[in-house]
Amino acid sequence: MNRKLFCSFPLFLGLTLLTSCVVPYAQISGKHVASSENFSVDVPDGWRQHNASADLVKKLKDILEKRHKLEWDVLRLTRDGLLLQQIAIGRIPIEKELPNTKRKLAQGMLPLDTAELVIDNFRANTNLTHQEITENAPAAFGGQPGFKLHYTYRAEEQLKMEGVFYGVLVGPWLYYALYEAPAQHYFQKDLAVFDKTVASFQFVKTGS
């Protein structure tokens, strides 16, 4: 009996590892510290982390990739599924071009100029239509002077999406937190959750 159990352990371990590689969501909670990316943030209760590299969700990944570049997300969260609501937190190296404009970010750029570059990139995204900026205002993010954009667009099958984007230039990075959901019904539902998440965002080391 014991021998049987011993022999089946590697199989069990193998299966566990295999499934963990392709499971698209992982339950996390509490404070999430991304030390190498220099930030921490409180994960809202009941939200799950999405693993975009999972093969199972390739179609989903394709859809999301058209909206914003996924490789820059460090943390991608959802409660009911990414098409229904998502919070993405990440950072963009300023030496990289944004996907839809050749204009580049630069250290020392004013928050207004940075916001306008992000807007240009958003408006030039040919995967989307009816892009509109409803708010562009200065806002602190991680205690630093940054900006906040409120926007809408139409995506697949003309579904109207609504989002909020916080950004701040710190050193050679543009840090961001965005929240997106279908404008009808879903967006308002979790906006307060996002605001709370943004308020909890902190840089681990300041000035880096």
């Binding site: 004013l110 408006r123 040919t126 239509t129 562009n136 139409r154 003309q158």
Partner: protein, 403 residues
């Protein structure tokens, strides 16, 4: 059938059609269908369906928010189209040309008649004759029913399923709507046909413009200008006009037809009126190019405007914005100089005060920054970026008038 399902069906049909254009029909010959407007022309059953679906696409374009609504430009282009279009054709088709505010150099026609031309294509043109060449070419696709011919060839071909797979797979099932119905870039590809059909449109387009009294050589010039643009901006989008081999095909095809049919061509170019009527669209397009970081193309467009009218304050402003946003070696100095010229020409232009104020602010010249940013807010009390500007003014003078 729900609207969603209908959209998907429309999208799938167009995907198949595009697949045929690029993968199945590379050597398709010219049309054998009775041209629209000729005796014996009758709208066929499958064609009626294609037209219905094309009308759905047209609605999407027209509601995209990208249509240039300037009545001067609209009337000018439509009067030109009306002058050059064959009479019989006009009786059968409700033709209307619309300008799409998009910097990609492209033009296309839907099978039931509507023609679309991007502002980015207008910006590459220098004369009415060049515009006539492009309109004539697109009209010819409609006259010779190239969409129907392509559609039928696909239906008869064995590659029906594989074509859908080739085109549809990368987009995914939800992507179909986006690729074809939601994105101007993708829809623009509608203008690409097999080589034989394109040559037919080239020939007829040249005849249309020549009959209206325009110099056919201008057709070659507009394509050469396009080629230069694509090379300098290293554009790789899959637009029909944007791929080099196809632009070169057009140039070669035009030259062959001109040599054969218009050995001693004469005709007018119509530069003056074209220049006047398209001036605003040209500058707006330059601002779109700046926002995409295509500074060389933007600068060319602006300098073209300034060559026509050196006192054009909007052009000087656009140049100043270009320099400020590009920020290369001498750009800040040049930006300052262009903002000053703009303000001299038009002291009440709020955006110019904003631009120079931000330039001074970012280079720590706080006194002139304060002066111009305050002027900006006075001239534009409802400015959308007021909160930013007030924040900067507070930073300069914490005890000032913007506590």
């Amino acid at each position: 059938m729900t609207r969603k399902q209908r959209n998907r069906r429309v999208a799938a049909r167009w995907i198949i059609l595009l697949g045929a254009i690029f993968f199945v029909l590379p050597g398709c010959s010219t049309s054998s269908l009775t041209p629209i407007g000729e005796q014996g022309f009758q709208l066929e059953e499958d064609e009626q369906r294609i037209w219905r679906e094309a009308r759905e696409l047209q609605k999407r374009f027209d509601q995209s928010g990208l249509i240039d609504e300037d009545p001067v430009l609209h009337d000018y282009i439509n009067q030109l189209a009306g002058r050059i279009a064959p009479e019989k054709f006009k009786e059968q088709v409700r033709m209307e040309v619309k300008v799409l505010k998009h910097p990609a150099p492209n033009a296309f026609a839907l099978p039931h008649g509507p023609l679309y031309i991007h502002s980015g294509f207008l910006a590459r043109m220098d004369s009415e004759a060049q515009l006539a060449a492009v309109l004539g070419h697109e009209m010819s696709h409609v006259v010779y029913r190239h969409t129907l011919q392509t559609f039928r060839s696909v239906k008869q071909g064995a590659a029906f399923t594989s074509t859908l797979a080739v085109i549809g797979a990368p987009a995914g099932i939800y992507g179909l709507g986006v690729v074809l119905l939601g994105s101007v870039g993708a829809l623009a590809a509608v203008s690409g046909y097999a080589q034989g059909l394109e040559e037919e449109a080239d020939g007829e387009g040249l005849r249309i413009m020549a009959r209206a009294g325009y110099d056919p050589h201008e057709a070659v010039r507009v394509m050469e200008s396009l080629k230069t643009y694509l090379e300098q901006e290293e554009i790789k989008e899959p637009f029909f006009f944007s791929t080099h081999p196809r632009v070169e095909e057009r140039i070669g095809s035009y030259r062959r037809i001109i040599a054969r049919e218009f050995a001693d061509p004469e005709g007018r170019q119509g530069k003056e009126e074209f220049t006047t009527k398209t001036a605003r669209a040209l500058l707006e397009n330059a601002l779109l190019e700046i926002s995409r970081g295509r500074f060389t193309a933007a600068q060319e467009g602006i300098e073209k405007s300034l060559a026509r009218d050196p006192t054009n304050s909007r052009a000087h402003f656009a140049l100043a914005e270009l320099f400020r946003q590009r920020s290369l070696d001498q750009d800040r100095v040049n930006a300052e100089s262009e903002y000053k010229i703009t303000i001299d020409l038009e002291p009440g232009m709020a955006e110019a005060h904003r631009g120079i104020g931000l330039l001074y602010y970012s280079t720590d010249r706080m006194k002139p920054a304060t002066e111009h940013l305050r002027t900006y807010l006075e001239l534009s009390p409802a400015a959308k970026d007021r909160a930013y500007i007030e924040q900067y003014l507070r930073k300069i003078d914490p005890g000032g008038m913007y506590p």
